[in-house]
């Protein structure tokens, strides 16, 4: 089962919840940190092993001997990554999205592709949690391709396990998959959460929290995704988040009251389940409730 953890507003406790659930569950878990612009999950796990590889997108390279500067590639390119001059064509890697269209359109077969690294795909392990995350290089803007790569890697490791592949034991594969999504409601968030079985929305009981929760709920409704809410710092603020959830029939699955101890542990990069062991049980309970909601949804 795949559970995405998202939030309209940033800083409400998404990573706290995603890491908390991953640590609390007794089965081995895969945690995919898809917040590739600011991946944080790894800061809260004492990683034992870490493997990092480049993630690249294909960019065009022009064979000047074959190029006739006809300009078809440049007019096709939606991103102005190719500039046609009198006698040659310039490539701007930083503008290229890697669509491959220029190579197809070139009548002289003058374009090949080269891989340009835009970030890293990292695989790491702690007992019970297999972490995969993407880390977009500073100055790069194409988050969705890296997010998709993290999810594909997670899925292929899960599939290999299920298919009983030749001695392949991806740690955590076959168990639940938790996705730590980027904040907000735009393209990167949607790319991260789509195709999940359930989405947890983490919010706070403030005007900002409520305002952004409403937007996140709209996105999930459009995706037809079952959802539940976690209210962080639940005893602070009075913005009727609970009333909103009641009206929209969205279950509030967990309330985390403000605790100075949790805040201090967070500041030091330590998980909520270490600050207060009661949360281990509460997260397990929440997971079971999610399992039954998803099962009911499938049956109904």
């Amino acid at each position: 089962m795949t559970i995405a953890v998202a939030s309209g507003k940033g800083g409400t406790g998404k990573t706290t919840v995603a890491v908390g659930v991953a640590r609390a569950l007794e089965q081995d878990v895969q945690l995919l940190d898809c917040d590739v612009e600011e991946p944080n999950s790894h800061l809260f796990l004492q990683l034992e092993s870490r493997e990092s590889g480049d993630f690249s997108i294909p960019v065009p390279r022009i064979d000047n001997d074959k190029c006739t500067a006809c300009g078809l590639c440049s007019s096709f390119c939606e991103y102005n990554a190719l500039a046609r001059l009198k006698d040659r064509v310039l490539v701007f890697d930083n503008l290229c999205h890697g669509c491959g269209g220029c190579r197809i359109v070139c009548p002289e077969d003058a374009i090949t592709e080269e891989l340009r690294p835009i970030g890293k795909l990292v695989s790491a392990q702690v007992p019970g949690v297999h972490l995969l995350y993407g880390d977009l290089n500073s100055g790069e803007v194409l988050a969705p391709p890296l997010i998709r790569a993290v999810k594909r890697r997670g899925a292929s490791e899960a599939n290999a396990m299920e298919a009983g592949g030749p001695g392949y034991t991806a740690p955590g594969a076959g168990g639940p998959l938790i996705i730590d999504s980027p904040p907000g409601t735009t393209c990167p968030m949607v790319t991260a959460v789509k195709d999940s079985d359930f989405c947890l929305l983490v919010t706070e009981n403030t005007p900002f929290g409520l305002h952004d929760l409403e937007m996140a709920v709209q996105v999930l409704d459009d995706l037809d995704m079952p959802m539940g809410v976690v209210i962080n710092r639940s005893d602070i603020g009075h913005s009727d988040v609970e009333e909103f959830c009641r009206r929209k029939s969205i279950p509030v699955l967990l309330r985390i009251p403000y605790s100075r101890k949790i805040a201090e542990f967070y500041a030091r990069g330590e998980s909520i389940v270490d600050a207060d062991s009661e949360y281990r049980l509460r997260f397990q309970e929440m997971y079971r409730r999610i399992e039954s909601i998803v099962a009911e949804g499938r049956a109904g």
Partner: protein, 119 residues
């Protein structure tokens, strides 16, 4: 020769626009005839690669030199490849900038004047 000055308005008395790709207007000046002509910059509202597009346009218009404020790396690469000289840090009115250029008071640049810009 034909030169282009980036402009904030459509008059000779308009101020130079320090932006290149997203300049409001282009002023084309012909050094032989002394004629000024102005055009609104159709690339200014583009999403990305505006510097590239604008530079390509300069090449199409057979401009030999550009007077402007700042030029980013993509624009510089294109202008340079097209053999167009770049004179940055121009300011004051368009007319004053042209006069200063003709008197040889501006230095051309051999590289972009700043990092990539997005607006």
């Amino acid at each position: 020769m034909k030169i282009c000055i980036t402009s904030q308005g459509e008059e000779r008395t308009s101020n130079v626009d320090p932006r290149f790709g997203r300049a409001a207007f282009f002023c084309f000046y012909d050094t032989e005839s002394g004629d000024y002509s102005f055009e609104a910059n159709g690339f200014a509202a583009g999403v990305g690669g505006v510097g590239v597009q604008t530079s390509q346009y300069m090449a199409e218009k057979e401009v030999q030199a550009v007077l402007t404020g700042q030029v980013g790396p993509n624009a510089f690469k294109t202008l340079n490849a097209a053999g167009i000289e770049v004179y940055p840090n121009a300011d004051g009115t368009v007319e004053a900038a042209v006069q200063a250029f003709l008197k040889g008071e501006y230095d051309k640049t051999s590289g972009p004047t700043g990092p990539a810009r997005h607006s």
